[in-house]
């Protein structure tokens, strides 16, 4: 019932462990006939090499740690599935970790559980900096997703470009009084989107100093609250939210208070979540290529694990600006049918 060992295989074909090991690892200088015999025995015994023994004798765990923030977002599904897919192709396994990963990352590496990491780092920049510095010192391979820091390998999307595209579009519509509804103040994605928006606004001949920034925490509720606060004193032309959920929160508040979107106030979001095209009004937003991010990150990590020591730097994936109705452009819900064939993983 218990699994066969390499010793069992060796005995079964009258050879030594060493020779069986050679066959398993495809080393040269083994007689073809011997290879035959060993493979037959392996098949008959249903033998699979014990990973711990392999790892212990220098092979590594063939596992990577996927470190995600405590607060899960549903688009992690796309991220995870693409990561796992690439990992499987390359003979690696994915260990996920969310709770307290800042505290535990180094330990699970020390324990030999993982050979490297992918971090979806969001906030708490300083803590991450400290961790990354230690890992770098110890030559632990890791890749960041979505929040580039220093010269660490990172996969990002073009937040600046996305923000800029929204700004130019807003400027084209003639919106002047803008509210930027950001994520947490130390969130790099949010800050980059803000930065890009300012640039784009300025490039369009508008004054970026008039942009009012208020921060939420990416939740629907925080978008609702932030806008309810702003509306006490302001009446902007348009709102650019750092993600779709906060944009939706804003819409909910405005609708509840009799403000028409987009006629009175236009809105754009970020992410192109699953629901974006189905709410009313359909949300103008910037699409994040989550699957591609996961794929790129895992490929990057694999090449580092296989010894490529060259620091690959950052990969910036394009973000696609999606125009729908919430910016006051013409759009019919029927339009969403055209893209119904697209993979439904985006959120």
């Amino acid at each position: 019932m218990t699994n066969a060992t390499i010793e069992d295989v060796a005995k079964a074909c009258g050879l030594s462990r060493a020779t069986v090991s050679r066959v398993i690892n495809g080393e040269p200088n083994v007689k073809p006939l011997t290879i035959e015999k060993v493979k037959k025995a392996i098949a008959e015994l249903g033998y699979h090499p014990n990973i711990h023994a392999q790892a212990l004798s220098g092979g590594g765990a063939k596992t990577v740690g996927i470190m995600l923030p405590r607060i899960w977002r549903s688009y992690y599904s796309s991220l995870l599935s693409s990561i796992e897919e690439v990992a499987a192709q390359e003979g690696y396994y994915a260990l996920i970790m969310a709770k307290d990963y800042l505290k535990n990352a180094e330990r699970i590496f020390d324990e030999g559980r993982v050979d490297g990491f992918i971090f979806r780092n969001m906030d708490h920049v300083e803590e991450h900096e400290r961790l990354f510095l230690r890992l770098r010192k110890r030559n632990v391979p890791f890749v960041l997703i979505g929040n580039p820091l220093r010269d660490y390998p990172a996969i990002t999307i073009d937040n600046v470009g996305g923000g800029r595209a929204v700004a130019k579009h807003f400027a084209m519509h003639g919106f002047r009084k803008i509210v930027y509804l950001g994520g947490p103040s130390d969130n790099v994605d949010s800050n980059d989107r803000y930065f890009g928006f300012r640039i784009g606004f300025e490039e369009s001949g508008m004054n970026p100093e008039g942009i009012l920034r208020i921060n939420g925490d990416y939740s629907t509720k925080s978008g609702y609250n932030a806008i309810s606060e702003i509306m006490l004193t302001q009446k902007p032309d348009a709102i650019f939210a750092a993600n779709d959920r906060m944009a939706l929160g804003a819409i909910l508040y405005l609708h509840k208070n009799g403000v028409c979107v987009p006629q009175d106030i236009a809105i754009a979001g970020f992410d192109d979540s699953y629901f974006a095209k189905y709410i009313t009004p359909a949300l103008t937003t910037v699409r994040q290529p989550f699957r591609e991010m996961g794929t790129a990150a895992m490929k990057q990590l694999c090449s580092m694990l296989k010894g490529s020591s060259a620091n690959p730097g950052k990969i910036i994936l394009p973000a696609k600006f999606i125009v729908r109705a919430s910016c006051s452009c013409p759009y019919s819900h029927d339009d969403s049918l055209d893209v119904l064939d697209a993979v439904e993983n985006s959120e």
Copy 2:
């Protein structure tokens, strides 16, 4: 730079590996002073026991395989995060696997990578049956989520109860001609919801034979297509979809073709996805407690891993019927604000 070993710790405090091992594992009969010394050395060296060595000498991998279908749904985020949370509490780690898990599950167990499994098994009942039978024979602990089979430990939601609640509500509204928009024909969830619906319909004094069933694949597009087909020959009073996405697909088709929802045709879905309360009309649906499912599954698995041999059978979690506008009940989008505080993980 390379990690300290137990030997290093032993040397550092002039003791043997055995004694250090005792301290680490909290065994009795070690002098308090010795414990002190060892702990100090461990702290100074930053020592962490190597998991592979521990596993090799009988400890197990302290890892469980989380096996998810190839097609990822966004609610897996909730499932995974709760699973990981419980796992961390209990000193376990979560290895996720999606691609070809039917083929690979047994292998990764043989390799010693995992000590047990959680399966989110969906379709392909026969293949799963074969796998589970083999695992059972080999005494491999595993728990199923969402699709109970034979007497294997499983965490399910009350699909039958959910379907029944929808049926009773539909009957109360006086809907007679019903279309059931199911998932794949061998999908247990879908079949149970259908079954529950029939029961509820019958219990309400209606004739369940009039229910027309048509299957999609849970995607928005398939819901759209299925209803477009049905509408060529039928004009139902109401549609009950096996998930929210297909319900949305149906709504999209109906709107596009000038059919009013819910005035002309009422609709209910299943899942209570994030978007359900935000689309127009807000979707009447049945809420799945994904986080609770993950928690229950992992707790169950842990108790099995810790030796509890009693077969715990099935745990059926309640599903909550949520009335909104799409069944033609009065509902304002503002109502969704009341639940905005709820955790936003559900999808």
